[in-house]
């Protein structure tokens, strides 16, 4: 499964949801499908996208939040899974694209390539709904189930370690940040 195909498969579901992504390939690929003011791309600070998602989910309980995370970022903030699980926001869907690689910084293999199982780690941390998928059909089904489940879900999507040719886009970080804040204020 290609990550961009997975993003494309659920892109229409994101129109009215609050979306936070990690840096690099995930951010560039989602932007390539079409940026929206409700998308925020955390272009650095690896590990904190899920924490940002938690901060929004706890303070905007009436909005559904989707975080697109990655294996390298989750591994930098494994404790964050225990914090997510502790508060179990019902309005947060946490997707982890697992390409078993630090693709954006040279493709070095992460620990998920040698057997570390992020869905099992999330489940053991106490996340109420977890799963791992390997095909677009499985991903789309699991994502839709997570959106309607009303319970915190960590969904690990195993994807190929390929990404876009470049990661820098013409959307500046601060433009994205203030546009996103304005969106949250207006809705």
């Amino acid at each position: 499964m290609l990550r961009i195909d997975a993003l494309r498969a659920v892109y229409d579901r994101l129109e009215h949801r609050v979306v936070v992504t990690i840096m690099g390939a995930v951010a560039a690929e989602l932007q390539s499908l079409g940026h929206r003011p409700n998308f925020f791309y955390l272009q650095h600070a690896m590990g904190l996208a899920s924490s940002m998602g938690l901060g929004i989910a706890l303070t905007k309980p009436d909005r559904q939040v989707v975080v697109f995370d990655g294996d390298g970022s989750v591994l930098m903030n494994l404790g964050g899974l225990t914090t997510l699980a502790r508060y179990k926001p019902k309005n947060l869907v946490h997707v982890v694209f697992d390409n078993e690689s630090l693709l954006s910084v040279g493709g070095f293999p992460t620990a998920t390539s040698t057997g570390s199982d992020l869905a099992a780690i999330a489940a053991a941390a106490g996340v109420p709904r977890t799963g791992a998928v390997r095909t677009i059909a499985e991903f789309t089904k699991a994502f839709d189930e997570a959106l309607s489940a009303g319970a915190l879900t960590t969904l690990v999507a195993k994807v190929d370690a390929v990404g876009p040719a470049q990661f820098v886009t013409d959307l500046s970080l601060l433009e994205n940040r203030f546009q996103f804040q304005r969106y949250l204020k207006s809705t």
Binding site: L54, T59, R177
Partner: protein, 172 residues
């Protein structure tokens, strides 16, 4: 009874409430026990207990973008553990952070393990260009917290208040 001052903790907590803070992230540390308990017992406050302080940067960033004022409670060693998040999330994206940092390792510290971090705290804040002030007397707690938050919000930057021994600890 712990010699951590309940009276000072209450003054600090009330000042946070008065400045509109509605979410507090925290990692337990001796000097912060009363503050964390006050947040826990306050139905108007969202308390987020962390595994590591750096998570609090992301949580406060999310809360800020969602329109909610927040504060981070941590020890100075938690500040050390949060530096990349402060630089690569809060400073890069111009996110205000109100950080209340227990200043362990200054004059009077008895725990040998706290002394090294105490020695670098102020230099580290200066290196990060984070405006900071010490809270060492109850008389200036409320105005300094209010002013720190005002600057944080107008500048869209992190600010720090150091909770000092003279404020937090009742020597006996």
């Amino acid at each position: 009874m712990s010699p951590v001052s309940v009276t000072s903790s209450r003054i600090v907590y009330d000042a946070l409430k008065a400045s509109g803070v509605r979410l507090v992230s925290a990692l337990p540390e001796t000097w912060l026990v009363h503050l964390i308990r006050m947040a826990e017992e306050d139905p108007e406050m969202i308390l987020v207990r962390l595994a590591k302080e750096e998570e609090g940067v992301g949580i406060s960033a999310g809360a800020h973008l969602a329109g909610v004022k927040s504060a981070m409670l941590m020890q100075n060693h938690g500040l050390l553990a949060s530096i990349n998040g402060i630089v690569s999330c809060a400073q890069l994206y111009r996110i205000p952070l109100l950080m209340l940092i227990s200043y362990r390792g200054e004059f009077g510290e008895r725990d040998p393990w706290q002394t090294e971090g105490g020695g670098v705290t102020e230099d580290l804040l200066r290196a990060l260009r984070i405006p900071f002030s010490c809270l060492d007397n109850v008389s200036h707690v409320a105005p300094r917290i209010a002013k720190a938050q005002t600057l944080s919000l107008s500048a869209n930057k992190p600010v720090a208040l150091l909770l000092c021994r003279d404020l937090m600890w009742e020597e006996r």
